[in-house]
Symmetry: none
Subunit: 197 residues, 4 copies
């Protein structure tokens, strides 16, 4: 009978669940989130949830996987650019723009809260590596072009740039009065100061 598998419909529903989970994780943290709450938010039954994800943790991992894909997509967008420093600063700026999704800070904290679980840690590592892979080549290029300092190697510089965006995310998460729009300029300026030879 019935068209049992409509891949598009399946994928769409999967995304609905992922989005719902992101929302609830951000609000209540990982353990504070019950599968029931995700189902309510997604408008599905609990049985359906487990049709799409074998485990609550798997939804979380799926969300993280999304982020990795994102980083890779963005890599292509920069291909062909010749102003290495400009790209580096653009990446920094785009890090600030992630905060645009108001769920992000809460979600980041939620993930941090269970980072001690090996599979989560691993996925996060992959995430981090994907981001580094995006940034690192441009830092190296900028160094070779003499646009930025060379007293620190490219790897450390990359770490520090992500330290800035991570800190930015954290501030935005915890400080109500931290205006993302206004502070983004300070972020880019601070990155520039940090990178100056």
């Amino acid at each position: 009978m019935a068209r049992t598998v409509d891949p598009a419909r399946h994928e769409a529903r999967r995304l609905v669940i992922i989005d719902a989970a992101l929302t609830v994780f951000a609000q209540r943290g990982y353990d504070g989130t019950t599968t029931a709450a995700i189902c309510r938010q997604a408008g599905i039954g609990s049985g359906t949830f487990f049709h799409y994800f074998p485990t609550k943790r798997d939804v979380l991992l799926a969300i993280l996987t999304f982020g990795i894909g994102d980083a890779r997509d963005r890599a292509e967008a920069y291909a062909g650019r010749t102003d290495a420093l400009g790209v580096v600063l653009d990446i920094v700026r785009s890090g600030a723009e992630d905060v645009a999704d108001p769920r992000m800070p809460g979600f980041v904290r939620a993930v941090g809260g269970i980072m001690h679980q090996p599979d989560v840690a691993e996925k996060l590592d992959e995430d981090t590596r994907a981001q580094r892979d995006l940034m690192l080549p441009w830092v190296e290029r900028a160094q070779r072009a003499g646009e930025i300092r060379t007293d620190l190697d490219a790897g450390r510089i990359t770490s520090w740039l992500y330290l800035l965006t991570d800190g930015f995310l954290g501030r935005a998460a915890s400080e109500e009065t931290f205006s993302v729009a206004a502070e983004t300029e300070v972020l880019v300026d601070t990155a520039r100061r940090f990178l100056a030879p």
Copy 2:
């Protein structure tokens, strides 16, 4: 009669529990930590635990309260100094030194993971305020002395300095290769660059 309450002994045991809790929270996150695990770590029975703390969350709050006291104690240490910029950088540096306790990053993430709980959020706010109260006056003094930039007001500058130390803590937490000792110098240098007029 009856040596019923030996306050010193009581306080000591309380500290043992707090310390044990800090260790386990850092390792397994807040929800991943069972009271049983804390008791095992502290070498006490479960009943004893609840003799000292009415709730698992109360141990966490007690740990955070410690941090607040710390900030206030440190304030006194700087009293009398006249080199405002020096003090500011010292505070930044001491932020990096907090990472000396290898449990700190994990603990910070654990707390982040349940920051959505109102009482935890409140305590953290208090913590943040205590830290700001420590830093802010010295930033203002440094500005008046013309030692640092004045295009951002003292409040924003303070936020940014903590953004740096928080990001530093986060990096140390997630990146194995991030050498605290070596990077502390970069931190202070970066703060100096950020503060330059």
Copy 3:
């Protein structure tokens, strides 16, 4: 699709749990009854129990609610009768018949044992009121008809009649040799003596 909710099945199972709880409460008292024991008696898992009742106390309240419904149902059975005294004595007699369920005395004691809990007290009040509402009008009618004494007002007479049935229940509960069948006649006779003008 999916026969998700079969209300009849749900209600049936609810009744099974209620019945099991009544049995165990009667045997061991309220606090002496563990939810595990109720589950065992009902042949269900512990999770199922809490699927039907949010709290152990809620089962108890559900049992009491049953009693209230009972009283209301019975009210209809008497509608249309014209022999007020006869109805009053029938109600007294039916009170004695409640003891037919051998669990009743134990259950009554169990409820008494936690009557200090506000919600239980409230439900019991409702129960009492439902019973009074059943009896009172017939007492008034009997008084107007000159069938019974009028030196006490109808409310007090009603209280006294329930005093008799309650006492009867208590005796049946505590005295092994108290033969319900034989004593019921004494009960009705005593009520008659009490009511005589």
Copy 4:
């Protein structure tokens, strides 16, 4: 050293604990009463409590033992009387007077709530027997004197008289508006009606 055992002091303290326990049992039921609450009420430490009573249940049993002693003491007061019916009614009346202690109803319910425990049941039986032993001979005498009905044997009549006082106690316990003073007369009158040949 010290006068370790001062029997009078010991007995006094025992009574304080018993009284405190009676108060708290009446207010919160047996299981609702923590030993800590009894200690607070008695103004003693928890260790002291267990110096006087090996078990929480033992305090309860001690209270019940008191009642038994009471019944025996009263027996002597009636010795020498010749108006059997008068004594019977006096005993009934004194049953109503027990309610004078406002804690009594609550305590009775508390005891009922754990009557399923063998030792409590046994003590209660003893209590009941003591009361019967007080009443029964006078009922027999009254029957022989032709003062009261003889269609029921003395044992059943005794049961019914206690049924009245128990019911009275129960009403007083559950019905706010039940005025003990006013209703006591009704009680005696009802007993008289019940006993009438």
